[in-house]
């Protein structure tokens, strides 16, 4: 446990010290909130779907958590390139403990980022239907963060060069975001698109957060949480397996 804790603490400390990272990570969510949230708001309302800001805020929080968690994979490549990873790999501790510490650290940073964006959405006018549901929504957010941090660990363990992560962003992370229903409703989608949204774990994350924060859910919060738990276990096992294969 001390190993898991110290590596978790390292990630959190580094995040809290990096004001540039905090500010930079606000860019994309703010743009989505500002441009799409307010720009498409009138269209959404005319279509009888209510407030687009209310609909979209959980999606933007989900997006923030996804991006932040996936960036922990870049941090791992960074550690590999600049040597710190080697320091941990020659230590007399199980690789699983190192992987769990790093993954939980990345997930915590992602939740902190999500919290920041949640506050921003409140300032922008977003209103959860129930304050009591907010802590539950954050449990779902934490699940999203663990899932994608574990995935980032798996990917970071498989790649050796930073350049490879650009490909991951373009061909994996962006599709995960756009297919998740973060910026459009899941009802009435073309069959293929509908099927793709169902295999995207973020879909269930966004749906769960949306269900808890604004009372609008496609699958039901229980289904969302069950899927997220299942995928979470799968991705943590996959991440641990990939991490165990790293050769420095």
């Amino acid at each position: 446990m001390p190993v898991v804790f110290i590596l978790w603490l390292r990630e959190v400390k580094k995040y809290l010290r990096s004001r540039v990272q905090i500010v930079a990570s606000l860019g994309a969510p703010l743009m989505y909130l500002g441009v799409l949230g307010f720009g498409l708001g009138p269209v959404f309302r005319r279509a009888g779907e209510g407030s687009y800001l209310q609909f979209m805020a959980p999606g933007v929080i989900g997006m923030t958590v996804l991006f932040s968690a996936m960036f922990s994979g870049i941090a791992m490549l960074w550690d590999r390139q600049f040597g710190f990873l080697k320091e941990t790999l020659v230590a007399p501790v199980p690789r699983l403990a190192i992987m769990i510490g790093r993954t939980l650290g990345g997930a915590t940073v992602a939740v902190l980022q999500g919290t920041l964006i949640f506050v921003v959405t409140l300032i922008a006018g977003f209103r959860p239907v129930s304050l009591f549901a907010v802590p539950l929504a954050f449990l779902v957010i934490a699940l999203i963060a663990v899932i994608f941090s574990a995935l980032a660990t798996a990917i970071g363990s498989s790649l050796k060069e930073m350049q490879g992560f650009q490909m991951v962003m373009n061909f994996l992370v962006m599709p995960i975001f756009f297919l998740s229903g973060a910026i459009y409703p899941l009802e009435g989608l073309p069959r293929v698109l509908g099927a793709l949204t169902r295999v995207d774990p973020l879909t269930y994350g966004v749906d769960g957060v949306r269900g808890l924060l604004i009372g609008r859910t496609h699958f039901g919060v229980a289904v969302d949480v069950a899927v997220l738990l299942g995928v979470g276990v799968l991705f943590v096992v996959f991440g641990a397996w990939r991490f165990s294969k790293i050769e420095a």
Binding site: P2, K13, F82, K86, P92, L159, G164
Partner: protein, 266 residues
């Protein structure tokens, strides 16, 4: 110095595909000695250190550290050595103290002992006053000193130093070797080092092994190598043993092999 070798390398081979990076190398290192492992770029020095530090499996042969089989008892072996890699391995976004503390936790050093040992080593390596500064504000020499201090935190029996003075100015290099000699005297730690600076090896090493093209070409004290080659300096002896052809490390077959496998592995 005791009789049983602290490091025993017997007929080790390391291949990357068809390329043999280390070929049938054998040598012993005695407890408490400073042992220099010299060779031109791409000769197999770092590959050997990586095998000894459990990061790579040998293709064939046997490695022992403190009587333990390095491949069979990796966790136990890891407790017994400290390592300073050729590339920096500090977290530059953390302070010197935090880097030390993480290492202490990773090596199961109890909290109280950790604090005492951190203070002792940071004072020994003249970094105590800068303990709360971020490592990214340190000079190259300070970072190297911190890496050595960190490598000693768990009181290892063997300290591996892979090109520890690379890129340092003469003052920093001199100061670092003074520290290494002092800590050998104070803690009796065995030092296994690689360096390209022959004057350093001549000055600090009790014994020297020279590797070239993955094969060990000579072992002995500096004086023995000079006698063996009929030369009057270690550098001349080194050139006599390894030739004068310039080696380009980035062009070695072993590195090319690693490059090929670099993007997606298995």
């Amino acid at each position: 110095m005791g009789d049983r070798p602290i490091i025993r390398v017997q007929h080790i081979v390391k291949s990357f595909g068809d390329v043999v990076a280390v070929n049938d190398v054998s040598f012993d290192v005695r407890p408490g000695e400073i042992f220099a492992f010299l060779g031109p770029n791409g000769a197999g020095k770092t590959t050997t250190i990586r095998m000894l530090t459990t990061l790579l499996h040998p293709t064939a042969g046997a490695l022992e550290l403190d009587g333990l089989d390095v491949t069979a008892h990796r966790t136990e072996v890891r407790k017994r050595f400290g390592v300073v890699f050729q590339d920096p391995s500090l977290d530059s976004e953390l302070t010197a103290w935090e880097n030390m503390d993480i290492h202490g936790v990773l090596y199961h050093v109890p909290r109280h002992a950790r604090r005492e040992r951190c203070e002792l080593l940071l004072r020994m390596f003249e970094l105590w006053e800068r303990r709360d500064d971020l490592v990214k504000t340190f000079s190259g020499g300070m970072k190297r000193r911190l890496e050595i201090a960190r490598g000693l935190l768990h009181t290892p029996k063997v300290l591996f130093l892979d090109e520890p003075t690379l890129g340092l100015d003469p003052q920093s290099r001199n100061q670092m070797w003074t520290h290494v000699r002092n800590l050998r005297a104070a803690e009796g730690v065995t030092v296994f080092l690689t360096t390209h600076y022959m004057d350093e090896a001549d000055r600090v090493a009790d014994r020297i092994a020279v590797i070239d093209h993955g094969r060990l070409v000579a072992t002995g004290s500096s004086a023995e190598l000079k006698t063996q080659t009929g030369t009057d300096s270690l550098e001349a002896a080194f050139l006599a043993l390894t030739g004068t052809t310039i080696r380009d490390e980035s062009a070695t077959a072993a590195d090319q092999m690693r490059q090929v496998a670099r993007v997606w592995r298995r």
